[in-house]
């Protein structure tokens, strides 16, 4: 290869490098400009939101419109990026303030017709757009659109369904739980925790439907209803909870047992003991855990029989239940034929130290 070709190659690669540098600089310039524009919009949105938070509407019965410049209104109708920035700022602020300030934010949201955009997004084919719109409407307290949101509480998409269920509870508290009448998809453990958390923020009013939820075809609805019964001490549905002990689903039976640990009656220990031998180990442990709190001296013989189990966890639970009955339970534990053998001897030492504490 002669020097002529070598020079040409150098020239070619230099050109490529120069082109690359120009390309990178151009990208950086565009990104900077865009970033600057976004920063400016964010500031404008933030200022408007703050203006709304402190807008003095308290003295007026007829609410005044929050002043918004025509430039901002135009930007809002023409530019979807700015609309998104403003909506995000509004929803974020709404989550953090209450009282008149929160009312003002809702007013601004409606005044700018942002709820119409959210409702349009509910028709999107993209699940995440739908889910975000549902969340937005709930945060902005759009009770008037409950019917549109309610429709999604049994949506095939899990995340849309979850957001809709949370939204109806956020908007209507316990009354919102009526979606449990119709939901056919399972309510996951995580979603149940979220719903209970949401319900903890609102007063327990209009809390109806428990009986029918406990008879639902959807096993997760029964499980959730049992958790609700336990959390909100619904003693009046005691017999329905007892009926759940016969359910074919092991998860439902486990929840029913745990619920009876909170809502018990004179006959609860007898009922649980009658179920004991029919159950699997997991449910048996749960029964013994409940018996720890509700068993009386007349249950000592039954509990002593269970000490013969090969399962160490069950053995420990039974020993705890016996000790919790009182002196007679502890005495019975000491007189058991395996009391001096491993592992019961260790278990008894452990239980005695717990009792001493």
């Amino acid at each position: 290869m002669g020097p002529h070709y070598f020079n040409l190659a150098i020239l070619f690669f230099t050109g490529i490098i120069l082109l690359l540098i120009i390309f990178i600089l151009a990208i950086m310039y565009i990104r900077n400009r865009r970033g600057g524009k976004f920063q400016k919009w964010k500031l404008m949105a933030s200022l408007l939101v703050r203006k709304a938070i402190f807008f003095d509407n308290e003295q007026d019965e007829q609410r005044k419109a929050i002043p918004v410049t025509t430039r901002l209104q135009k930007l809002l109708s023409d530019n979807q990026h700015f609309r998104k920035i403003l909506t995000d700022e509004l929803t974020n602020a709404k989550k953090n303030v209450s009282g008149t300030s929160a009312d003002n934010l809702k007013q601004l949201y409606m005044q700018l017709n942002l709820h119409h955009f959210a409702i349009a997004k509910l028709k999107s084919y993209k699940w995440y757009v739908k889910a975000q719109a549902i969340q937005e409407l709930a945060v902005m307290d759009m009770k008037e659109h409950i019917a549109k949101i309610y429709r999604f509480t049994n949506n095939a998409n899990e995340l849309v369904r979850m957001e809709a269920q949370i939204a109806v509870v956020k908007l209507y508290g316990f009354e919102g739980l009526r979606f449990l009448d119709v939901v056919t998809y399972p309510i996951t453990e995580w979603q149940q925790i979220r719903l209970l958390h949401e319900l903890a923020q609102v007063p327990a009013e209009n809390f109806n439907g428990m009986e029918s939820w406990l008879r639902s075809q959807n096993k997760s609805v029964i499980t959730f209803a049992l958790k609700l019964a336990r959390t909100y001490h619904r003693f009046e549905i005691y017999s329905e909870i007892i009926a759940c002990l016969q359910d074919e689903d092991a998860g439902v039976r486990l929840q029913a047992i745990e619920t009876l640990g909170e809502l018990y009656d004179d006959d609860t220990s007898d009922i649980l003991i009658s179920r004991y031998l029919l159950e699997d180990l997991r449910q048996q442990i749960a029964i013994v855990k409940v018996l720890k709190n509700i068993a009386t001296e007349r249950d000592i013989p039954v509990l002593l029989d269970q000490l013969n189990s090969d399962n160490a966890e069950l053995k420990l639970m039974v020993a705890r239940a016996l000790a919790n009955i009182g002196t007679k339970g502890l005495e019975a534990l000491h007189h058991h034929r395996q009391a001096c053998e491993y592992p019961l001897d260790r278990i008894i030492t452990q239980i005695e130290s717990e009792v001493a504490v």
């Binding site: 953090n96 303030v97 009282g99 958390h197």
Partner: protein
């Protein structure tokens, strides 16, 4: 009153700053726990308003550090989310003086701050 705000959320921080300045207070704003501790040492504020969840040092760490390192009583108000009862209890154990649950009304915050202005540590 010289008030230090420790809040990582931009909008909330600006909202608090605006409201407290309007009430005539001198406001020092910080974006995270570490900056808050530095500014507390620098300015010795009359009141600290801190969020619980923040980068670097949490609101609880701020309370602990203030109570441990300063002999003078600096009242502390914490901003907590709904359902954070355990955190609120821990904050009181560490020495917080008051708490406000989000969402909160800026008017309520203003009244609570005024209480500290009148009584020192309420």
């Amino acid at each position: 009153m010289r008030i230090l705000i420790a809040e990582d959320d931009d909008l909330m921080r600006k909202t608090l700053e605006f409201r407290l300045k309007r009430d005539g207070h001198q406001v020092i704003v910080t974006h995270d726990g570490r900056e808050a501790l530095e500014k507390i040492a620098e300015h010795l504020p009359d009141l600290v308003i801190t969020d619980i969840m923040m980068p670097y040092s949490s609101g609880l760490e701020i309370i602990g550090a203030v109570r441990q390192n300063y002999t003078q009583k600096i009242p502390i108000i914490i901003l907590s989310g709904m359902g954070q009862e355990d955190v609120v209890l821990e904050a009181f154990t560490l020495g917080a003086d008051d708490y406000i649950t989000k969402p909160f009304s800026p008017n309520e915050l203003s009244v609570r701050v005024r209480r500290f202005a009148f009584t020192g540590a309420a």
